[in-house]
Amino acid sequence: MDGIHDLGGKYGYGPVIRETREPVFHDRWEAKVFAIMRGASAAGAVKNTDQFRHAVERIDPVAYLTHGYYGRWLGGLETLLVEAGLVSQANIGSRVAELGGDPAAGIAARPAKHPDIVAYEPLAAHSYRSLQAPPRFRVGDRARTRATPIGGHTRLPAYARGHTGWIARSHDGWVFPDSNAHGRGENPQHLYTVAFAGETLWGAEAEPGLTVHLDLFESYLEGP
């Protein structure tokens, strides 16, 4: 979906700000969010990485830009825990008030009233699925990405839509995030690293000598 998360090529975010001597976790609450992820996965609220990434994409867009990485995780986790019926936002609000906070402040989560039913039985621990069917493209082939937006979760960024590149690497089959995120099955597809010349993506403004590579699923691609 064309959400706030799809940042590639966007203007206006200013210089890259680096911290000196950045700690792994800035505060204990960031590590708590990490721990909550483990609990939410074990409890079945987070079924797979694709579903979780989509939950993060669905949080409040202003929060997406201002709450930081662990704030985004927190919003995604609250969304999925509420959708799974394990906690309610009223429960969380009451607990925040008991801790001395404002229960209405800092809510990034946007649980859906009718969430996708994600019945996920992973066939393997990871996302690689070797495929019998041969890949449609070979390394060196030209390929064009689909030009139109994809609703729901997808891993085709907007900046790479409708452009012609070439197949740089071929990766066999992988779980297809666009269906797996929504509980519509793994539907593994061939995955390719597709290379695009800077001029193809950015026109005359492109910096010299630039090639951008993306890992794209076969159904995002058409022949040249």
Binding site: L7, D27, W29, A35, G39, A40, V87, S127, L201, L216
Partner: protein
Amino acid sequence: MTETTPQALRAEALESLLVEKGLLDPATVDQVIVQYNERVGPMNGARVVAKAWTNPEFRKRLLADGTSAIAELGLEGAQTDKLVVVENTSDVHNLVVCTLCSCYPWAVLGLPPKWYKDPAYRSRVVREPRKVLEEFGVALAGDKAIRVWDSSAEVRYMVLPEPPADGRGLSEAALAERVTRDSMIGVEIL
């Protein structure tokens, strides 16, 4: 340090509710802190790079199949179904990003720095990598090719930097000390 920002309080609230329901072991947070401070971090990638610099056969294997090569060093696990290592040379500079979220090769680099996950880096580095590199203090020759790797699926990327000019003759362990996290993301030249 304990913050009382709205996010900190909401995380605290959610954690305590899950602990009460028996869905989360309260010891998990300390396990996470130890794991990512002490065991899973850029020191792992530094070992891989130093070995590649000193062992041409390993370097060949690493560039051909990063996943198997890092397994030789006992490095496996979270977030790395497939690792692809891309090599910086006198002609080519590589940079890693994830524009859609913040995918990063945890097994070799640990958790990403804040700037890697922030909108500025994610939005700009696919479009104007030379300008971003200048902000990092890296000036690339005008005729050097730049390859940006946007980690849009489960393949993870790590840069094999060029060795430091004054590193000749150093041991593998001494070289590992010279490898920085940023050089393995591609925003620093050693």
